[in-house]
Amino acid sequence: MEKKQYERPHIIKLEAGMPGKFGMRSESLPVTHIDGVSVKELTTNFGSPLFVLSERTIRSVYRKALKSFSTRYPKVQFAWSYKTNYLTAVCKIYHQEGSWAEVVSGFEYDKAIANGVDPARIIFNGPGKSADDLRKAANGGSLIHIDHLDELYTLTDLAGELPRKPLVAIRVNMDTGIYPMWDRFGFNYENGQAWDAINKIMMAGKLELVGLHTHIGTFILSAGAYGVAAGKLADLALGIRQKFGHDIRYIDMGGGFASKNTLKGSYLPGSDTNPTFDDYAEAITSALVNSGFRPDNLPLLILETGRALIDEAGYIISTVIANKRLSSGRRATIIDAGVNLLFTSFWYQHPITPAQGFSQYREDNTLYGPLCMNIDCIRESANLPLLNKGDRIVIHYTGAYNLTQWMQFITLRPNVVLIDEDSKPHVVRENEMLSTINGPEKTPPHLA
C-alpha cells in the first residue's frame, strides 16, 4: 500500500468572535516556480538561502512606470538609483532600458563609469562628496546636485581650475504636508535657504545652474505630497527665469515612491493600498503642467525612483531549519535566511509563501533567521501552512536595498541569481567563502 504524504499533527482551538473589519484571506498560495524555474531546482543548483532576481519583472515594472509618466508629460527621464541595488547586472538592465545613473558616492560614481554610463548621464547626489569626487564629476560633465553651502563653496573654488563650467542643481527640502519632513538634505524652500543658494550660484557665475532637485522622503504613501513638491520646484524655476532670465533644464523629483511591500502595523497589504505609478505621475505632472511653464518650454522631468522599480523583482528562497514552540505554546520556525540578508524585514511584513503544496491547515508562526542574535526575526507573525524541516519558502519583494545593505555577519552571503527573460538562471554574484572574508585581513608577524 502506498503511504500517505506526511503532515505533522495539528490542532487549534476555534475562537468565536466578531469577524474583523480587516479580515483577509491567507496570503500564502504556494509559489513553486519563479519565472518558470522551479524553486527546488534553484536551491539544488545554487544553494539555500538564495537571492533571486527576475529580469522579466525588472523590465516590465520599469516600462510600466515609464508609461505612467510619459503618457502624461512630454519629457521624462529615469535615473537608476544605484544605492537601491548596484549589482552590475541590475544596473545594466536599467541602462539598457534607457535609465541614466543616480549615484551618491565616489564609489557609486566609479561603478557607473565602469558600467559604461556616459558621465553626462550621471546625477551625483548626496551630502558626502569629496573635492576629488566633485572634480571628477565636473570634468565629466555630470550633473552635480549640491547638498549644502560648504559643497557649493568647494565647487565654486574648484571651478576656476576646471576646463569646463560645472553643471549643477541644488537639492531643495520642503514642507509637503507629510511627516516626517526631511530637512537634513539640501536647502530649505520655505525659509529662503534655497533662494540664497540660487542667488550665490547665479551671482558668482562660476557654476551653471541646470536643474532643481528634491527628494521628499521614503515610502511616501501620499501621492499628493509629490504634487506639492513639484509645484514648489516649478515656482523656484519660474522665479529664476523672472529674476535672472535663466531657464533651468530639468526638475528632478527624486525617489521615495512606495513599493508593494506592507509596512509593519498596516492593516491591509501594500499591494492593495499603496499608490501606483499612475497616482504619483498624475500628481507630479499635473503640478508641472498647471504651473506657469510655457507648454513649449517645459523642463525635463527626472525621476530617481529605486525601491518601487525593483522591490517586486527580488525574492529570497529559504529553507526551514527547525520547528519549535515558544514558552507560550506559539509556533516558531527557524529558517536559513536572517536579517543580515533581509535588512528590510525590520520595517516590512514581507509576503512569505511556501514553495510546495500543502493542506488547508495553517498556524501562526514567528519566523526566525539562523543567527545567534535575538534581533534575527524575519516576521513576528505569519500565518503559514504546517512547515517541516527541509521545506522551502519564498520571501517576496526583496529587490530593494537588501543587496546593498546586507551584511556579512555570522554567516556568509549566498549566491545571487538573475533569471533572464528566457527563464535561464545566471549567477550574478557568487556566494562568499572564508577567503572572501580573510583575504583583506593582515595578521601582524607576532600573531602569524
Binding site: E7, I11, I12, K13
Partner: protein, 82 residues
C-alpha cells in the same frame, strides 16, 4: 497519558469537548492520533502504526507526537496518568 474520552470528532476534523463546550479543528493525522489515544494505544504503538501509514521517519514522528501531546495538554484534552 489519558485523553478525555468524551471528545467527539467528526470526519472532517471538527472536535468538540462536551466538558467545556470548546471546539477545535484537527488535521487528519491529529484526529487519528486522538482516536488511538481514546482506544488506549501506547505512544510506541501509535508511532509504529503511523509509520505504516505515512511517508515519514521515526525521529520526525516522535518529535511531532511529543509536540502534539504538549498542545493537547495545554488545551486540557490530555492529562498525565494519575
Amino acid at each position: 497519558m489519558k485523553i478525555n474520552e468524551n471528545l467527539a470528532i467528526s470526519d472532517n476534523g471538527f472536535l468538540f469537548n462536551p466538558t467545556t463546550g470548546e471546539s477545535y479543528t484537527v488535521n487528519p493525522i491529529g484526529a487519528e492520533i486522538i482516536e488511538m489515544l481514546k482506544s488506549g494505544e501506547t505512544q510506541e504503538r501509535i508511532i509504529s502504526r503511523l509509520l505504516d501509514m505515512y511517508d515519514t521517519d521515526k525521529k520526525t514522528l516522535e518529535k511531532d507526537l511529543h509536540d502534539f501531546s504538549d498542545i493537547l495538554k495545554q488545551y486540557q484534552l490530555l492529562s498525565e496518568d494519575e
